[in-house]
Amino acid sequence: MMFRNVAIIGCGQTKHSSKRRDVSLPEMIEEAAWRAMEDAQVTPEEIDAIVVGNMQGFGGVAQPDQWIGDWIGAPGKPVMRIATGGTTGGSVGQGAIYAVASGMYDKVLAVAWEKHSDSKEPGATTGLLHVALANFFHAFNYGMNLKSLVATTVVGAAAGVAVYQAMFYMHRSGCRIEHFDMVAAKSRRNAAKNKYAHLQWPGCTPEDIAKTEMVAYPFRFGHICPASDGASAIVVAAEDIAKKKEDKAWVKGLASYSDEENQLMSESYGGVGILDASEQMGCRVSAMKAYRMAGITDPKREIDVAEIYQPFPSQELIFAERLGLFDEGKAWVALEEGEMEIDGRMPTDPSGGVLATNAIGSSALQRILEAALQVMGKAEEHQVPKEVRNAVAHGWGGVTNYTTVTVLGDSPR
């Protein structure tokens, strides 16, 4: 394929917590952006273009890109905002990669964020509520009765699509709720080694998670990701610039995917096109394309670490299989055998992942950033204790199913 080689040469993120009351939205984003530029040893003047994004309407701000420009060194430069729901950060990162790979720009800054606590609505879901209401009222036009609408929403709203997805996966793979306890405990333990993570719990055990309240079967309270305030940023540069840098992670392959499986109940009560919510063909197809571009033929052997988008523990298992890291329906067996631990054969989410830190718009960019840190050997306490030649980063967006897969490595393609 004809495009320039590209590498990530700088990473920056903020500390994540439920409420960053010490900073305003642009101040929070500035923290991540400047840390990334410092890490890359570039000045804001040297950045050619900026790609930004967060969830549409979240944090109660409709057009945050118009507020943050001055704070991230944007004046006089092209700024592109990308919003693809939960996948946003993945698309923002890939947008910056496209911009450099095309030859259009040499150094591009990608910044993604969420500041949930600034919105008064529960879950800060201004944008989602808007869409959901429109769908609900549409159904009312066709005589949907309030009781059945409320009844289906009551349970679905707790963890939405992920509950259905987990049920499908358990049914076809033989995975049990105890495995979700294990994934959640692993995430809390890993996060305790990541100074930027939100939900940190050193020494957390599956038994600790099993003691938490059942929210909607099969999910317990301990299985659910937090809503975090935070931002992350990367600097992407062309090959000749990256070669001169000591620390870099080369982009070896990338792909993304959107499909009609994206709608659980479908738009406007039209039928759904997919039977099994855990099928996630988008992730499989994206991974295959990205690996081919990266020259990877056996991901089980050639991928050394994975950063998977997993707001719920079931998703770490489902997507790990879809990324080709484990056999179909067997990720939970590998989990039992310790393969997914930081020091395991195939460490997944050594940072703690989305289950530990979920500043939604930023979450999928964080996967790319964390994969880059692993390749550069700069993940500090949560660095996996082995040589990292290739790492895979995954992004996924809720009910509206966009997938991104990005493969990074220690040498150019």
């Binding site: 305003s24 005589g143 009844a151 039209g270």
Partner: protein, 168 residues
């Protein structure tokens, strides 16, 4: 001087009506065919002439073939549960939906257990999300056979299909 970051719990509220009419384009004409079918206690689906997929309720487009789903079929009102959720007993004051407490509004009884299910009706290739009625939570399982429960008097609206019940 640092910026003033005083937390204001209430900032700005605006009273008035929110015109969701901006979304009238959503009115999917196929839903009219679907509810017309419900009136006759029939589940209408759309058939893709490209791949043979049948989707209930009908939709306009087959995403993977990218062609109009021009066929119409009636599928069975007997089907299989492909996925389910069993709620904890719903308590007053615990949850809010659309800004209201469904127990307080009398929509859900105190301590009622709700079982939303996905059903693949025989002849369909899609799931329909609905409620499982009159089942013991202990007997619910994937693969369970169920039949549509119809309103006593069907009027050509979505609530004509009240849910599904175990097929005995």
């Amino acid at each position: 001087m640092p910026y003033l970051k005083e937390e204001r719990p209430e900032t700005l509220g605006v009273e008035g009506e929110w015109n969701i009419g901006a979304y009238t384009w959503k009115a999917n004409r196929l839903l009219e065919e679907f509810v017309e079918g419900l009136k006759q206690r029939k589940l209408v689906g759309s058939l893709c002439f490209g791949c043979g997929k049948v989707i209930v309720p009908p939709r306009n487009l087959c995403g993977r073939c990218h062609r109009k789903m021009e066929g119409r079929v009636v599928v069975s009102d007997v089907g299989t549960v492909t996925c389910f959720i069993i709620s904890p007993p719903i308590k007053r004051g615990k949850i809010k939906v659309l800004g209201m407490d469904p127990v307080e509004q009398g929509l859900i009884q105190e301590d009622e257990v709700i079982i939303p299910v996905f059903v693949k009706f025989d002849g369909a290739d899609s799931n329909l999300g609905t409620l499982l009625i009159g089942a013991d939570p202990k007997e619910v399982h994937i693969g369970m056979r169920v039949r549509a429960v119809w309103a006593k008097e069907t009027r050509g609206e979505l609530s004509d299909l009240e849910g599904v019940e175990p097929l005995r």
